[in-house]
Amino acid sequence: MSVLHIAILSPFLFAIIVPYIYKRLRQIHTGWFVLLLPIILFIYFLQFLPQVKEGEGIVQSVSWIPSLNVDFTAKIDGLGLLFALLITGIGSLVVLYSIYYLSKDQEQLNAFYVYLLLFLGAMLGVVLSDNLIVLYTFWEFTSFSSFFLIGYWHHRERSRYGAQKSMLITVFGGLSLLGGIILLYIMTGTFSIQEMVANTSTIINHPLFLPAMIFILLGAFSKSAQFPFYIWLPDAMEAPTPVSAYLHSATMVKAGIYLVARMTPIFAYDANGYWVWLVGGVGIFTLFWGSFNAIKQTDLKGILAYSTVSQLGLIMSLLGVGAGAVHFGNDNQLFIVATIAAVFHLINHATFKGSLFMVAGIIDHETGTRDIRRLGGLMTIMPVSFTIAFIGTFSMAGIPPFNGFLSKEMFFTGMLRVVKMDIFRFDSIGFLFPVIAWIGSVFTFVYSMILLWKTFGGQVQREKLPKTPHEAPFGMLISPVILASLVVIFGFFPNILSDRIIAPAVETIMPMFAIDEIHISHWHGFQPELYMTIGVIIIGILLYLTLGKWTRIYQLFPNKLTLNQLYDVLLPSLETGSNMFIRTHMTGYIRTYLAYIFTFFIAILSFTMWSKHAFHFESTNLADIGLYEVLLFLAVIIGTVTILASKSRLTSIIALGAVGYAVSLFFVLFRAPDLALTQLVIETISVALFLLCFYFLPRNFHLEKTRFKLTNALISVGVGLVVTLIAISSYSTKLFPSISQYYVDHTYDPAGGENMVNVILVDFRGFDTLFEISVLAIAGLGVYGLIKLRLARRKEG
């Protein structure tokens, strides 16, 4: 176990002691203790920057289930390190923020921080594991920690709803991912991503390639809230705001992005372009759909949720389009800009969206509402928050000089270059990418402005606010101020990131290319990108000013047709449908069940008999049928019919006895006197017992009119027929001598007996007899208990 492993697992270990800290040191906010861990981890990961920049990855391995090729291999490379820094960096800020956000007197802080730490560890595990099974393990852990954080206020119905929804969708994705991992293993014989990357040629030519890719993408898309799986993310906003800022904006939802980036070297070579089209197409559509839907939201966090969906789509589309570069050999630098933009925007999004979420939390905290219809005019009351929000929204809208502007420009560049790709039919319909990208950006601009001005602009509506608004306490402002400062710093000096962080990450995503130097500049001259940005701003302002006029188009989309509605209808109807289905056949009557069982019995056995030509009749060994046999046979038949037909219980039982005696006479005929005697005794006793029981039974037992039922008759005849046919065939197929000769030879010596049946019963197979006796004993105990113990109906447990 290396230091790296301990670092990854440390949040789990820390989570164990959190409840004790919480219990012992109630007067200090638990968050202060927890805060130490992400800070230490952040510093720990920082030290890898120089090494990773030089292209030296760090790999440490601990075996977990080596027999099944599962080793906990931790690997630090450009991509992993970028994510690790995001996770621990944003994590530190979020924990700091949460200390002021969650009251130590009212909240269950122990639970909160345990979940948060579990998430922190799980997320580090996802991005630093090379072994896919281990990655999957951590992946599911992130889903469950998210589940608990969304359901943190579980007394609220909406929290439970949101938690369940996110769990179902993300675990669905997790299972798909597992399916994809298994398929990749079948193709390559390894769970190691590095080894798979080395085996790309085997994978892309394998028939399982496409299913594996689809499974992996389903996992990534559902986690990263891509269309149509995004519906869980808006409901995840039920979580406390620090959680939304952390999991549902900056980190967990980027796990899908991470996975796609990580898998790019494996799947990008796909000669049919499925990867590029799926990742790019789903991403760009999600960008549009999220931004379009964000505008109609009235909850600050709702806007931010859809905005996150949209921004994740943006990053996803860049990764997809960037993957196209591998098909262009050394002429790739043209397209790789998309991948660079993806990584850059990933960082930028974490900074501006994190700060915006924190501001939304501050507003909620200080005014008591997040509804933009009640908010407004907070600019003067909360100047610091306003400044942060201003920076965040303008960056998100892609306005200079903030970092969002830079990555947005690069995004346009990436999308414009799609048109120049002359593969996979991008030259014909590829133009859709820049068009949709531009439209999505306009909407992004509009909702950014809504977010900012509806909250801070206009007049204060004090009567609509549950609390008297005032600026947030200093502590709560630290984290968003830091993030907003980063937005500005990265905006002015993007190149402090480019060589240290972005280039190594891009090299991990595109290991086939040497990334010589990345330079991000503010000014590209009068290029189409610039015109697009100017267009976004102009059209965006117009649309924002005329909001009331055109938002009616949202009413064109009936609520009943949304994906959300689909989920809401599907889940309960799945339950009621299942229940109705069960009720159709689970009648509670044993006769129905027996009818099913015997129908299957007849059907499957007769089909097997027929298809295997199994019927066989051998008459050479058979004796002639004598008069006695015929008579006994008739007696059995008559007796059986009497049992069924008789109206009197007494007659039925006597007839039953008659059948039994007839069977024992068969034994006499076949020269088995001891069996005959046994059978006679049994028949006598059982008939006597039945008669004894009469005393306790109601007199008229045929009160319920039994009609003749054809199905039942057919089933019983069928069962009899099948059993008989198999019996005849089995009897006629004696392939080996019976072992019984051994008993003949050994009864006198060494068994020392004179009656072979006895010796078999008490010696050769005495073990059977011992337990048959036990069966009798149990039955006796049962009868005793049944008679003596009659518990009243009471609760059982």
Partner: protein
């Protein structure tokens, strides 16, 4: 591979205990102590047996020293001894739980001896190497289960026992008939000998396939596979929770074990027919199970239907019949026995607290019973196969085995239905444990909550260790699968040729 008396002890110790307990039925405290002590001894013996098998290979015992195949031979291979160990552990946990929940009435009416008899039957069925003796142990197990089901004599128990009894009496007679047919053809009862003899045939007669299907029906009725499961949901619902646990965790698994044993040892010559049929039935069984488990808001029903789902998963691995899939099935089988027992016990505690099994009638238990909630959560996600808990490796390998053999659709169904399994058990967590603290339950203070929790925690901890320690478990499972995949190992151990 010498004779080893240890093989018979997991059968003999409970038998002896049962006999002793029968004579002190009114002395409840002594009964309890003896039951707990004896089941602990059984666990230790079973553990020792597993150890012996792992170091010295298959252990056999010819009863009465009549040599195989003429006498009855007990055979502990790794699969058998692992299942015996698991059974013994579950028996121990259930007895511990019963002490605080089953009530004096049942305790005075031979509850403990009959539980011991049940364990005799189950351990015997796992251990015997003789097909007729298997029938006998089925009878022991079934008779004990009839009595446990009806003991108490409440209306629902009587009603459901009649159904259970009817189905099982029918399946028992089919069992004897099937054994007779098989004996007529191969002339022997020793399973290794049957395998050896069938192996000598140059051409497999069709009737043998028919008999294989007949055995599938017999064992499938016990194992509750589609379309033979109909009796299970009602019957398992009726008895008190400890009995439900024993039946749910152990009995169906004996049916599955028997299918695994016979279908790997001697009914493997017509796989394209028998195993493909099994594959289809397994997938439908899984589907029926999940449909049932999401159809109800009754927590007992939810777990009961999950039995059926798990059986389908195990059977799927058996039907695929590759080393990977078999490894998965064995992993899953043991996991499922432990985790099902744990879940039943946990459900029992909930019912004890709230007085109802209707999920719509209670909520917010986590506020007062956090430990119960977290143990339940771990058990629930283990059941759903979330790594690194116990259900994961089994599910993964079963699916991988299926995919390797090109059964993509079936494997994907197994994979995705585990989402519904998760949904069904997490529903209990979300609606039963979560929620405000605004409900009081009449009986909640009269029960021994902490004491009931101990056996449930014990089983859950075992399940967690089973998951984390998959590598440790692997060496045992691999040995079990080795024997399943190579019948000659079994034959050689029993017939010593």
């Amino acid at each position: 591979m010498e004779m080893n008396n240890l093989v018979v002890l997991p059968i003999f110790v409970p038998l002896l205990t049962a006999v002793i307990l029968m004579f002190i039925s009114k002395k409840i405290n002594i009964q309890r102590w003896i039951s707990v002590g004896a089941s602990l001894v059984t666990v230790m013996i079973a553990g020792l047996l597993v150890h012996h098998v792992s170091t010295d290979g298959i252990q056999t015992l010819d009863i009465g020293s009549w040599p195989a195949p003429f006498g009855i031979t007990l055979v502990s291979d790794m699969l058998s001894s692992l299942l015996v160990l698991t059974t013994s552990i579950i028996g121990f946990a259930v007895i511990l739980y019963s002490i605080y929940s089953i009530g004096e009435g049942r305790e005075k009416h031979f509850y403990y001896p009959i539980v011991q008899f049940l364990i005799v039957g189950v351990n015997g069925a796992f251990t015997t190497g003789d097909i007729f003796n298997l029938f006998v142990f089925f009878e022991v197990m079934l008779m004990a289960s009839y009595v446990l089901l009806v003991l108490g004599g409440t209306k629902i128990q009587l009603r459901e026992t009649i159904k259970y009894l009817t189905v099982n009496v029918i399946s028992s007679s089919l069992f004897v008939i099937a054994v007779a047919y098989l004996y007529s053809i191969v002339g022997t009862l020793n399973m290794a000998h049957i395998s050896q003899r069938i192996g000598l045939l140059e051409e497999i007669p069709g009737i043998l396939t028919v008999i294989a299907i007949l055995f599938l029906i017999v064992f499938g009725l016990k194992g509750a596979i589609f379309p033979l499961y109909f009796w299970l949901p009602g019957s398992y619902y009726a008895p008190p929770v400890p009995v439900m646990t024993l039946l749910g965790a152990l009995l169906t698994k004996v049916g599955i074990y028997s299918i695994a044993r016979t279908y790997s040892l001697f009914f493997y010559h017509d796989q394209s027919y028998t195993h493909d049929l099994l594959l289809v039935l397994a997938v439908v069984t899984v589907l029926i199970g999940v449909v049932g488990s999401i159809a109800y808001w009754d927590i007992k029903k939810i777990i009961i239907y999950n039995i059926i789902t798990a059986i389908g998963v195990i059977l799927y691995g058996i039907s695929v019949a590759t080393t990977t899939s078999m490894t998965g099935s064995v992993y899953y089988l043991i996991h499922d026995m432990i985790i099902k027992a744990a879940l039943f016990l946990l459900i029992g505690i909930i019912v004890n607290i709230t007085g109802t099994s209707n999920l719509k009638k209670f909520h917010g238990l986590i506020n007062d019973y956090p430990v119960l909630a977290w143990v339940y959560f771990i058990a629930a996600i283990s059941l759903a196969g979330i790594p690194p808990f116990s259900g994961f490796v089994g599910k993964w390998l079963v699916i991988q085995g299926g995919m390797e053999r090109g059964e993509l659709i079936g494997s994907v169904i197994i994979l995705l239905t585990s989402l519904l399994v998760l949904y069904s058990v997490m529903k209990i967590f979300i609606y039963g444990f979560w929620g405000g603290k605004d409900q009081d339950y009449p009986d909640q203070h009269s029960i021994s909550y902490n004491k009931l929790l101990i056996p449930a925690i014990l089983l859950t901890v075992i399940a967690v260790l089973y998951g984390f320690g998959s590598e440790f478990v692997y060496s045992y499972v691999a040995q079990a699968v080795d024997t399943l995949m190579n019948p000659e190992i079994y034959i050689e151990a029993v017939l010593k040729e």
